[in-house]
Protein backbone atom coordinates (compact mmCIF):
# COMPACT_ATOMS: atom_id res chain seq x y z
CA UNK A 1 0.00 0.00 0.00
CA UNK A 2 1.26 3.46 -0.88
CA UNK A 3 1.72 5.47 2.32
CA UNK A 4 3.17 8.50 0.56
CA UNK A 5 2.73 9.80 -2.98
CA UNK A 6 2.44 13.19 -4.66
CA UNK A 7 -0.91 14.94 -4.10
CA UNK A 8 -3.21 15.45 -7.10
CA UNK A 9 -3.48 19.11 -6.11
CA UNK A 10 -0.01 19.52 -7.64
CA UNK A 11 0.38 19.22 -11.41
CA UNK A 12 2.89 16.87 -13.06
CA UNK A 13 5.16 19.81 -13.90
CA UNK A 14 8.70 19.47 -12.55
CA UNK A 15 9.52 22.23 -10.07
CA UNK A 16 12.15 24.68 -11.31
CA UNK A 17 13.52 25.39 -7.82
CA UNK A 18 17.19 24.76 -7.02
CA UNK A 19 18.16 21.41 -5.45
CA UNK A 20 17.14 21.29 -1.78
CA UNK A 21 15.15 24.56 -1.85
CA UNK A 22 12.27 24.05 0.56
CA UNK A 23 9.86 26.20 -1.47
CA UNK A 24 8.88 22.79 -2.90
CA UNK A 25 7.99 21.40 0.52
CA UNK A 26 5.66 24.33 1.16
CA UNK A 27 3.97 23.87 -2.23
CA UNK A 28 3.24 20.29 -1.23
CA UNK A 29 1.90 21.25 2.21
CA UNK A 30 -0.49 23.84 0.76
CA UNK A 31 -1.63 21.43 -1.97
CA UNK A 32 -2.15 18.49 0.40
CA UNK A 33 -4.08 20.68 2.84
CA UNK A 34 -6.46 21.86 0.10
CA UNK A 35 -6.95 18.29 -1.11
CA UNK A 36 -7.61 16.99 2.40
CA UNK A 37 -10.14 19.77 3.03
CA UNK A 38 -11.87 18.79 -0.24
CA UNK A 39 -11.59 22.35 -1.58
CA UNK A 40 -9.69 21.73 -4.83
CA UNK A 41 -12.59 22.92 -7.02
CA UNK A 42 -13.10 26.04 -4.89
CA UNK A 43 -9.50 27.19 -4.63
CA UNK A 44 -7.87 30.19 -6.29
CA UNK A 45 -4.18 30.86 -5.67
CA UNK A 46 -2.23 34.08 -6.23
CA UNK A 47 1.40 33.70 -7.35
CA UNK A 48 4.02 36.33 -6.45
CA UNK A 49 7.04 37.81 -8.18
CA UNK A 50 10.08 35.96 -6.87
CA UNK A 51 11.30 32.40 -7.21
CA UNK A 52 7.70 31.20 -6.79
CA UNK A 53 6.58 33.17 -9.87
CA UNK A 54 5.73 29.92 -11.68
CA UNK A 55 3.57 28.63 -8.83
CA UNK A 56 0.64 28.94 -11.25
CA UNK A 57 2.07 26.01 -13.19
CA UNK A 58 2.33 23.82 -10.11
CA UNK A 59 -0.98 24.11 -8.26
CA UNK A 60 -3.82 22.19 -9.81
CA UNK A 61 -6.45 24.90 -9.35
CA UNK A 62 -7.24 28.35 -10.71
CA UNK A 63 -4.24 30.65 -10.30
CA UNK A 64 -3.62 34.35 -10.87
CA UNK A 65 -0.23 36.04 -11.16
CA UNK A 66 0.07 39.40 -9.39
CA UNK A 67 2.41 42.35 -9.89
CA UNK A 68 5.34 42.45 -7.44
CA UNK A 69 4.01 42.73 -3.88
CA UNK A 70 0.40 43.27 -4.91
CA UNK A 71 -0.89 39.75 -4.29
CA UNK A 72 -2.96 40.62 -1.18
CA UNK A 73 -4.72 43.39 -3.15
CA UNK A 74 -5.48 40.97 -6.00
CA UNK A 75 -6.67 38.40 -3.47
CA UNK A 76 -8.91 41.02 -1.85
CA UNK A 77 -10.63 41.69 -5.17
CA UNK A 78 -11.12 38.02 -5.99
CA UNK A 79 -12.37 37.09 -2.52
CA UNK A 80 -14.82 39.99 -2.35
CA UNK A 81 -16.26 39.11 -5.76
CA UNK A 82 -16.29 35.35 -5.10
CA UNK A 83 -16.67 35.01 -1.33
CA UNK A 84 -17.36 31.25 -1.50
CA UNK A 85 -13.87 30.51 -2.93
CA UNK A 86 -10.78 29.60 -0.97
CA UNK A 87 -8.28 32.31 -1.88
CA UNK A 88 -4.66 31.74 -0.94
CA UNK A 89 -1.65 33.95 -1.54
CA UNK A 90 1.92 32.65 -1.81
CA UNK A 91 4.60 35.33 -1.35
CA UNK A 92 8.32 35.63 -0.63
CA UNK A 93 9.84 38.02 1.88
CA UNK A 94 10.99 40.55 -0.73
CA UNK A 95 7.56 40.49 -2.34
CA UNK A 96 5.57 40.62 0.89
CA UNK A 97 7.73 42.68 3.25
CA UNK A 98 9.58 45.10 0.91
CA UNK A 99 7.71 46.30 -2.15
CA UNK A 100 4.40 44.83 -0.94
CA UNK A 101 4.49 45.84 2.73
CA UNK A 102 1.69 48.38 2.32
CA UNK A 103 -0.63 45.83 0.68
CA UNK A 104 0.32 43.28 3.32
CA UNK A 105 -0.44 45.50 6.30
CA UNK A 106 -3.64 46.98 4.90
CA UNK A 107 -5.13 43.64 3.83
CA UNK A 108 -4.44 42.40 7.37
CA UNK A 109 -5.82 45.56 8.96
CA UNK A 110 -9.01 45.25 6.88
CA UNK A 111 -9.32 41.63 7.94
CA UNK A 112 -9.71 40.30 4.40
CA UNK A 113 -10.88 36.70 4.59
CA UNK A 114 -7.87 35.33 2.72
CA UNK A 115 -4.91 33.10 3.61
CA UNK A 116 -1.35 34.37 3.18
CA UNK A 117 1.48 31.85 2.96
CA UNK A 118 4.61 33.90 3.63
CA UNK A 119 7.90 32.33 2.50
CA UNK A 120 10.70 33.73 4.63
CA UNK A 121 14.10 32.69 3.26
CA UNK A 122 15.88 35.83 4.49
CA UNK A 123 16.91 36.81 0.96
CA UNK A 124 15.83 37.89 -2.52
CA UNK A 125 16.27 34.49 -4.12
CA UNK A 126 15.15 35.10 -7.69
CA UNK A 127 17.25 38.17 -8.35
CA UNK A 128 20.50 36.68 -7.10
CA UNK A 129 20.72 37.09 -3.37
CA UNK A 130 20.18 40.72 -2.36
CA UNK A 131 19.41 41.63 1.25
CA UNK A 132 15.75 41.27 2.22
CA UNK A 133 13.91 42.96 5.11
CA UNK A 134 14.27 39.56 6.81
CA UNK A 135 18.04 39.07 6.30
CA UNK A 136 19.60 38.16 9.66
CA UNK A 137 22.09 40.43 11.43
CA UNK A 138 25.52 39.38 10.15
CA UNK A 139 24.10 37.35 7.24
CA UNK A 140 25.84 37.99 3.94
CA UNK A 141 23.99 39.11 0.82
CA UNK A 142 25.16 40.72 -2.42
CA UNK A 143 24.03 44.14 -1.10
CA UNK A 144 25.65 43.64 2.34
CA UNK A 145 28.73 41.65 1.47
CA UNK A 146 30.30 41.80 4.92
CA UNK A 147 27.09 40.72 6.59
CA UNK A 148 24.04 42.77 7.55
CA UNK A 149 25.14 45.63 9.77
CA UNK A 150 22.29 47.26 11.73
CA UNK A 151 24.08 50.63 11.69
CA UNK A 152 23.94 50.65 7.88
CA UNK A 153 21.18 48.21 6.96
CA UNK A 154 18.79 48.33 9.91
CA UNK A 155 17.24 45.30 11.59
CA UNK A 156 15.22 42.33 10.29
CA UNK A 157 11.44 42.80 10.29
CA UNK A 158 9.38 40.21 12.17
CA UNK A 159 6.20 40.22 10.12
CA UNK A 160 4.09 37.95 12.35
CA UNK A 161 4.80 40.10 15.39
CA UNK A 162 4.09 43.25 13.40
CA UNK A 163 0.75 42.00 12.07
CA UNK A 164 -0.19 40.78 15.54
CA UNK A 165 -0.40 44.45 16.63
CA UNK A 166 -3.50 44.75 14.41
CA UNK A 167 -6.99 43.91 15.67
CA UNK A 168 -8.44 42.17 12.62
CA UNK A 169 -6.24 39.13 11.90
CA UNK A 170 -7.86 35.88 13.03
CA UNK A 171 -4.85 33.58 12.93
CA UNK A 172 -1.09 34.23 12.69
CA UNK A 173 1.56 31.54 13.10
CA UNK A 174 5.24 31.10 12.25
CA UNK A 175 6.51 27.62 11.33
CA UNK A 176 9.62 26.13 9.71
CA UNK A 177 10.72 23.49 7.21
CA UNK A 178 14.11 22.51 8.63
CA UNK A 179 13.26 18.94 9.71
CA UNK A 180 10.49 16.35 9.59
CA UNK A 181 8.94 17.39 12.90
CA UNK A 182 8.73 21.03 11.85
CA UNK A 183 7.42 20.20 8.38
CA UNK A 184 4.59 18.23 10.00
CA UNK A 185 3.85 21.18 12.30
CA UNK A 186 3.92 23.53 9.29
CA UNK A 187 1.34 21.37 7.54
CA UNK A 188 -0.97 21.60 10.55
CA UNK A 189 -0.70 25.39 10.64
CA UNK A 190 -1.34 25.78 6.90
CA UNK A 191 -4.32 23.45 6.99
CA UNK A 192 -5.74 25.25 10.02
CA UNK A 193 -5.39 28.63 8.29
CA UNK A 194 -7.14 27.38 5.14
CA UNK A 195 -9.88 25.76 7.21
CA UNK A 196 -10.47 28.99 9.17
CA UNK A 197 -10.84 30.82 5.87
CA UNK A 198 -13.24 28.18 4.55
CA UNK A 199 -15.33 28.70 7.70
CA UNK A 200 -15.41 32.44 6.94
CA UNK A 201 -13.63 33.37 10.14
CA UNK A 202 -11.19 36.00 8.88
CA UNK A 203 -7.66 36.89 7.83
CA UNK A 204 -5.14 34.08 8.26
CA UNK A 205 -1.36 34.32 7.92
CA UNK A 206 1.27 31.58 8.08
CA UNK A 207 4.95 32.51 7.88
CA UNK A 208 7.10 29.56 6.81
CA UNK A 209 10.88 29.61 7.26
CA UNK A 210 12.39 28.24 4.05
CA UNK A 211 15.96 27.63 2.88
CA UNK A 212 17.77 29.22 -0.05
CA UNK A 213 20.87 27.01 -0.36
CA UNK A 214 21.93 28.73 -3.58
CA UNK A 215 22.10 32.30 -2.30
CA UNK A 216 23.15 31.32 1.22
CA UNK A 217 26.03 29.46 -0.51
CA UNK A 218 25.39 26.33 1.51
CA UNK A 219 24.75 22.68 0.78
CA UNK A 220 21.02 21.92 1.16
CA UNK A 221 21.54 19.93 4.36
CA UNK A 222 23.71 22.68 5.88
CA UNK A 223 21.05 25.23 4.97
CA UNK A 224 18.50 23.27 7.01
CA UNK A 225 20.88 23.23 9.97
CA UNK A 226 21.36 27.00 9.62
CA UNK A 227 17.59 27.49 9.69
CA UNK A 228 17.18 25.39 12.82
CA UNK A 229 20.09 27.03 14.62
CA UNK A 230 20.02 30.65 13.39
CA UNK A 231 16.83 31.65 11.55
CA UNK A 232 14.62 30.38 14.37
CA UNK A 233 16.51 32.62 16.84
CA UNK A 234 15.66 35.80 14.95
CA UNK A 235 12.25 34.44 13.96
CA UNK A 236 10.86 32.46 16.91
CA UNK A 237 8.28 29.87 15.95
CA UNK A 238 4.82 29.96 17.45
CA UNK A 239 1.24 31.17 17.34
CA UNK A 240 0.91 34.94 17.51
CA UNK A 241 -2.87 35.09 17.13
CA UNK A 242 -5.59 32.48 17.26
CA UNK A 243 -9.03 33.89 17.95
CA UNK A 244 -10.49 30.37 17.99
CA UNK A 245 -8.49 29.79 21.17
CA UNK A 246 -9.00 33.29 22.52
CA UNK A 247 -5.37 34.24 21.82
CA UNK A 248 -5.57 37.97 20.99
Amino acid sequence: MKVFQKTKMLTDAHLHYCPGCTHGIVHRLVAESIEELGLQEKSIGIAPVGCAVFAYDYFNCDMQEAAHGRAPAVATGIKRCLPDRLVFVYQGDGDLASIGMAETVHAAARGEKITIIFINNSIYGMTGGQMAPTTLIGQKATTCQNGRDPAVNGYPIRVCELLATLDAPYYIERVSTHDVKHVLAAKKAIKKALQFQAEGRGYTFVEVLVSCPTNWHMRPVDALRFMGEECTKTFPLGVFRDKSEGKQ
Binding site: M1, V3, K6, L15, D179, V180, V183, P213, P220, V221
Partner: protein
Amino acid sequence: MAGITVDEKICKGCGLCANACPKKVISISEHRMNQNGYFIAEAVNPQNCIGCAFCAIMCPDCAIVVER
Protein backbone atom coordinates in the same frame (compact mmCIF):
# COMPACT_ATOMS: atom_id res chain seq x y z
CA MET B 1 7.63 -5.09 3.07
CA ALA B 2 8.31 -1.40 3.27
CA GLY B 3 10.16 0.32 0.46
CA ILE B 4 10.69 3.50 -1.52
CA THR B 5 10.76 4.33 -5.21
CA VAL B 6 12.67 7.41 -6.34
CA ASP B 7 11.59 9.06 -9.57
CA GLU B 8 15.06 9.48 -11.01
CA LYS B 9 13.92 11.93 -13.68
CA ILE B 10 12.87 14.54 -11.14
CA CYS B 11 15.40 13.89 -8.35
CA LYS B 12 17.89 16.74 -7.92
CA GLY B 13 20.31 14.90 -5.67
CA CYS B 14 19.88 17.44 -2.87
CA GLY B 15 20.31 14.80 -0.17
CA LEU B 16 17.52 16.01 2.13
CA CYS B 17 15.94 12.52 1.96
CA ALA B 18 19.15 10.73 2.92
CA ASN B 19 19.68 13.21 5.75
CA ALA B 20 16.18 12.56 7.13
CA CYS B 21 16.20 8.75 6.89
CA PRO B 22 16.59 7.21 10.36
CA LYS B 23 17.71 3.86 8.86
CA LYS B 24 20.40 5.06 6.44
CA VAL B 25 18.53 3.51 3.53
CA ILE B 26 19.33 6.27 1.04
CA SER B 27 22.56 7.55 -0.41
CA ILE B 28 23.28 10.02 -3.23
CA SER B 29 25.01 8.16 -6.05
CA GLU B 30 28.56 9.15 -6.85
CA HIS B 31 28.35 8.01 -10.46
CA ARG B 32 24.72 7.71 -11.62
CA MET B 33 23.38 10.95 -13.06
CA ASN B 34 19.99 11.82 -14.57
CA GLN B 35 19.39 13.76 -17.78
CA ASN B 36 19.44 17.05 -15.86
CA GLY B 37 22.96 16.29 -14.65
CA TYR B 38 22.03 15.61 -11.04
CA PHE B 39 23.50 12.68 -9.12
CA ILE B 40 20.45 10.77 -7.95
CA ALA B 41 19.20 9.38 -4.65
CA GLU B 42 19.37 5.58 -4.43
CA ALA B 43 18.08 3.07 -1.87
CA VAL B 44 21.39 1.43 -1.00
CA ASN B 45 20.07 -0.43 2.06
CA PRO B 46 16.48 -1.14 0.98
CA GLN B 47 16.09 -4.02 3.44
CA ASN B 48 16.30 -1.54 6.35
CA CYS B 49 13.35 0.60 5.23
CA ILE B 50 10.54 0.88 7.80
CA GLY B 51 8.21 2.93 5.59
CA CYS B 52 8.23 5.96 7.91
CA ALA B 53 8.16 8.38 4.91
CA PHE B 54 10.57 10.85 6.55
CA CYS B 55 12.49 10.92 3.26
CA ALA B 56 9.37 11.82 1.25
CA ILE B 57 8.29 14.44 3.78
CA MET B 58 11.61 16.26 3.27
CA CYS B 59 11.84 15.82 -0.52
CA PRO B 60 11.12 19.25 -2.04
CA ASP B 61 10.37 17.68 -5.42
CA CYS B 62 7.91 14.92 -4.44
CA ALA B 63 10.29 12.43 -6.08
CA ILE B 64 9.69 9.62 -3.58
CA VAL B 65 6.81 7.16 -3.28
CA VAL B 66 6.72 5.14 -0.05
CA GLU B 67 5.00 1.77 0.28
CA ARG B 68 4.39 -0.35 3.31
